[in-house]
């Protein structure tokens, strides 16, 4: 690997000047009447035959500490380094870059002789690689993973007058085993353990297996197969599924995928009736084709039984088409087989007119009641179709700044209806709730790196809630949030971190007795070693209608292995 490089390092010239210098050196030697033997004598060191160093001018082996080539006379410059952060030229024994402050470990004894311009000046690649590079010629089994241990404790004051104590422990872990017997086979698993006396519905310790699948992938990744519990995104299926997934490239451009299995969300249903199956065809873009670059089309079907009765039967398709790299068109259509009705359709157009702007237009049609299980009698009453249209505009004035805004409006037709007994015509009117908001974030600093962000949004009900519902009515919501996140690298290995998040929100009243606003503040401080081990301590403060002036503290340990 590069970390043990022993060749001559950054000598600071290119091949073309190098040849000129070599030629000039030869001419100089000729004028002086010198011979290679004389040069050798001057240098008083004959290049060892087994030397690992070669002259970049003539490829002749040279000794490790030669100042010039004994063959062609090329003069070697004094060893220099290039700071990998700011590209400043620095001396070989520099420990701190004078420009950017990047720290280097002191040179080890004898390092100068090694003439390595790379190994010491470049930190380990741990920031980028949590796993060995794919394809590395190491077929032995490797295990990597992530563990998050979180403990929270505090008190809440509920509107019911109770003061329950939060005492929650969480362990969230995932593991990847590569080269499981054969190089192409790997395993991925993730699970979560929760213990919380206040957790509903009972006080128990619960373990949830979130993912667990074996994965086969051939050497060029054209064939992939997963077997086990995994997340599937295809057609109407956007669930975890216990099943089989196959991905096959046919040539460079065409690919097909297929899957079948039992949806995990239906694990409490009748197993004989729960099934999801689907597939996808996709086409990777061709350079010369200006209108048909990426295209995908997925189709899936879902069936679920409960007490031997059908509660879900859906068909769904999704698609995506990128006629050019500046335009993406995507969407989906879902059909409820039980109600014989299309209940969810979406079309999204994403435009990138310039490199610093992104515009998204999203239309959606949805019938919420069709998402109720088919054994729910309440679906009979519903006439709740709604259309939504959203416009997002994001601009990126620089690499560090991101500004965005959005507006989303709903149109709910609400058909009028007659009551059978009274014969009263009830006109529900037209409702047009809308939401608008904006965000801005700035990444700042070099040594003390951080990000500050501001978010604001307003959800206006536009009369929708005026007479509707149970406890909630006439409620629009305004939210404002500001956060700061900082990281300071003491050394390459040691990093201090911190964050502050303030979230304030208010509704337009009549909702709760105590107050109609809420403030939540979260502050954290942490320490990270080698980006692999991170300890975070923090606290939450809440002043909300349900939990007034309460809070909790937490401790978190994250380990990458």
């Amino acid at each position: 690997m590069f970390t043990a490089c022993k060749t001559r390092g950054d000598l600071g010239f290119t091949a073309r000047p190098l040849s000129i210098v070599a030629l000039a050196a030869l001419l100089l030697l000729a004028l002086w009447g010198s011979t290679p033997a004389r040069v050798l004598a001057d240098d008083q060191k004959a290049p060892p035959k087994d030397s690992r160093y070669v002259c970049p001018g003539c490829l002749t082996p040279v000794s490790g500490d030669a100042d010039k080539c004994p063959e062609c006379g090329l003069v070697f410059r004094k060893l220099e380094y290039i700071c990998p952060v700011c590209s400043t030229t620095i001396s070989w024994d520099t420990t701190v870059c004078p420009t950017c402050g990047q720290k280097f470990t002191p040179p080890a004894p004898g390092e100068k002789e090694r003439r390595s311009a790379i190994a010491r000046s470049v930190p380990e690649p741990r920031d980028f690689l949590t796993e060995p590079p794919a394809g590395e010629e190491n077929d032995s089994m490797t295990v990597h993973g992530y563990s998050l241990s979180l403990w929270r404790t505090g008190k809440e004051t509920t509107f019911g007058g109770r003061h329950p104590e939060i005492n929650r422990f969480l362990e969230d872990a995932s593991v990847t085993v590569q080269h499981l017997g054969i190089p192409q086979l790997s395993f991925y698993g993730a699970g979560m353990l929760i213990s919380d006396p206040q957790f509903r519905p009972e006080n128990t310790i619960t373990f949830t297996l979130r993912e667990a699948y074996l994965r086969y992938e051939n050497d060029d990744a054209t064939t992939q197969a997963n077997a086990g519990r995994q997340f599937i995104n295809c057609g109407v299926t956007r669930d975890f599924v216990d099943g089989l997934f196959v991905h096959q490239m046919i040539g460079d451009r065409l690919g097909v995928e297929g899957f079948a299995g039992l949806p995990v969300a239906a694990e409490k249903s009748d197993i004989e009736g729960d099934f999801e199956v689907g597939g996808r065809v996709f086409w990777r873009g061709i350079t010369s084709d200006k209108i048909f670059r990426d295209f995908t089309f997925g189709l899936s079907a879902r069936d679920e039984l409960w007490d031997s009765r059908v509660i879900r039967q859906d068909l769904g398709v999704d698609f995506s088409w990128s006629p050019t790299w500046e335009v993406d068109i995507s969407g989906h259509v879902y059909y409820n087989v039980v109600d014989r009705d299309f209940y969810d359709a979406r079309a999204t157009l994403q435009l990138r007119p310039t490199a610093w702007m992104n515009v998204t237009i999203d239309y959606r049609y949805i019938v919420p009641a069709d998402l109720l299980p088919s054994n729910s009698v309440l679906a009979v009453f519903a006439d709740d179709r709604r259309h939504s249209l959203e416009l997002d505009v994001d601009v990126f004035p620089s690499d560090r700044v991101k500004i965005g805004g959005y507006v989303r409006g709903y149109y709910i037709p609400n058909e009028s209806f007659n009551t059978q007994i009274s014969g009263v015509q009830i006109d529900l009117g037209r409702e047009v709730p809308y939401e608008l908001g904006g965000t801005a974030s700035l990444k700042h600093g070099e040594t003390l790196k951080g990000e500050v962000g501001v978010q604001a949004s307003l959800l206006a009900k536009a009369g929708m809630q005026k007479y509707q519902g149970a406890t909630v009515y006439s409620a629009s919501v305004f939210q404002f949030r500001i956060y700061e996140m900082l990281a300071y690298e003491l050394t390459v290995d040691h990093t201090l971190k911190g964050s502050l998040d303030i979230h304030w929100e208010a509704n337009d009243g009549k909702l709760y007795v105590r107050q109609n606003s809420a403030t939540t503040v979260t502050a954290t401080a942490g320490y990270s070693y080698q980006k692999k081990y991170t300890v975070t301590l923090g606290a939450d403060y809440r002043s909300t209608p349900d939990f007034s002036n309460t809070g909790d503290v937490f401790a978190k340990l994250e380990v990458l292995f």
Partner: protein, 421 residues
């Protein structure tokens, strides 16, 4: 209605086969160069100088291109030095997969995709003395008769990022996605795409499902940046015993989560905007009810307001249901009066999902007694009215269902005796 699985599976298989056939056709028409490095390389050649000379016979530009500005792919002339007779004799299929009858459309890359100088890197690689090229081109010495599989762009990106990052500290560029530091052009190959495609801009949180689909690599593409468990932070929400990601990652305020802040109070308002967004992840039957019951918000969840199951409708009709007054707008009279703005029928039409969060009890659902078929409601309450109880037909215009009337939930209202215990 049961879905016809057998025809669906057969149809799917046929579709798959059609795709395979289509791929064969397309694959066959795309012109490639048949070339094996293994057959052209001399394994006995070792050492930087010798290897460089050997590679240079075809890739003649790379050692002379210290700035990496020239394409490294050999021109046809390099091949014709030895194989000129094939071209003269018209044996196109010796090299071109399209053959002499096909369209010889193969065109070498005319400009580099990455700022990379072989000349500069050859100076630095320690392993130059033994198969130096293999350090970055591992398949060059081992592949069989293939079609130029050593091209970097045909290998996975992670591999090359991993190799480069071992020496080049590109953290800032990586974080800011300043790929132009190394990549001249990301728009050409199947894998790399313009950077703007990777920005999670706009309402990414609610649209990423469809936008994910927009990538031929799907979730695999996301996994290049995100840990494999990243999705599950949010996407196992149907398990009610989970912890919101905001609570797991309080130190990451920059990450976008749905339930930030005082969501317990805000959820009712946001749910009215589009209840489908809630149901899609959480469902209705269990998720809402367990919390509502715990907090005394669900039907019959409080002892003081809890009418006996069989008395519920009678209590309602007698106007004594304190729970209605407590948890619904207006008073009992306005709640029941069709002309009132607080009439419960309006809510049921507009937002049946809202009703379901507290009242969905199967054949015990509170609505049934009044809205059932006259015969059913008469049987339940001993009425002789020909119109049944005052609820009347609740079905909206255009209502359709494939469920037979004698099957639940239709049978709750449409079959006499369905209410009998």
């Amino acid at each position: 209605m049961r879905l016809p699985w057998v025809p669906i599976v057969i149809l799917g298989a046929c579709l798959l086969e059609a795709c395979v056939f289509m791929g064969d056709v397309l694959h066959g028409t795309r012109d490639r160069i048949v070339f094996s490095h293994k057959e052209h390389l001399d394994p006995k050649v070792k050492g930087k100088a010798a290897e460089a000379k050997m590679c240079n016979e075809c890739h003649f530009v790379t050692p002379k291109d210290p700035r990496g500005e020239e394409a490294a792919e050999p021109l046809e002339a390099s091949c014709l030095v030895c194989h000129g007779e094939w071209k003269k004799s018209g044996d196109c299929d010796k090299c071109h997969t399209a053959g002499k009858d096909g369209a010889l459309t193969y065109a070498p890359i005319d400009h580099p995709k990455t700022k990379f100088s072989h000349a500069r890197h050859l100076e630095r690689v320690e392993r130059l003395e033994e198969h130096a090229c293999q350090f970055c081109h591992p398949t060059a010495w081992s592949e069989g008769s293939d079609t130029g599989a050593v091209r970097l762009d045909q290998d996975r990106e992670e591999r090359w990022h991993g190799l480069c990052f071992q020496c080049h500290l590109m953290r800032t560029e990586w974080e800011h996605m300043a790929c132009a530091k190394c990549h001249v052009d990301l728009s050409d190959r199947a894998g790399p795409r313009p950077l703007s495609r990777f920005h999670h801009n706009g309402d990414w949180l609610t649209m990423h499902g469809d936008q994910l689909i927009g990538r031929p690599d799907g979730i695999v593409l996301c996994a290049r940046c995100h840990d494999k468990g990243y999705c599950t932070d949010c996407h196992d929400a149907r398990d009610e015993r989970k912890v919101r990601p905001e609570l797991k990652y309080p130190d990451r305020p920059d990450r976008v989560f749905i339930h930030r802040g005082d969501y317990i109070n805000r959820h009712a308002m946001e749910a009215r905007e589009n209840p489908a967004d809630c149901i899609r992840c959480h469902g209705v039957a269990g998720f809402c009810k367990t919390c509502h019951e715990q907090r005394g918000l669900a039907e019959g969840s409080r002892a003081t307001n809890k009418p006996a199951q069989g008395d519920r409708v009678l209590v309602l009709l007698q106007g004594g249901a304190s729970s209605i007054i407590q948890y619904h707008n207006g008073n009992f009279a306005s709640f029941m009066a069709p002309s009132s703005p607080e009439f419960h029928g309006k809510t049921a039409r507009r937002d049946a999902v809202l009703c379901a969060t507290c009242h969905d009890y199967g054949k015990e659902t509170v609505c049934i007694q009044c809205h059932a078929d006259p015969a059913v409601s008469n049987a339940a309450f001993g009425s002789t009215s020909t119109k049944g109880l005052p609820g009347g037909d609740p079905h909206p215009k255009g209502f359709r269902s494939s469920i037979p009337k004698n099957k639940p939930p239709c049978s709750y209202c449409h079959v006499i005796g369905a209410l009998s215990k």
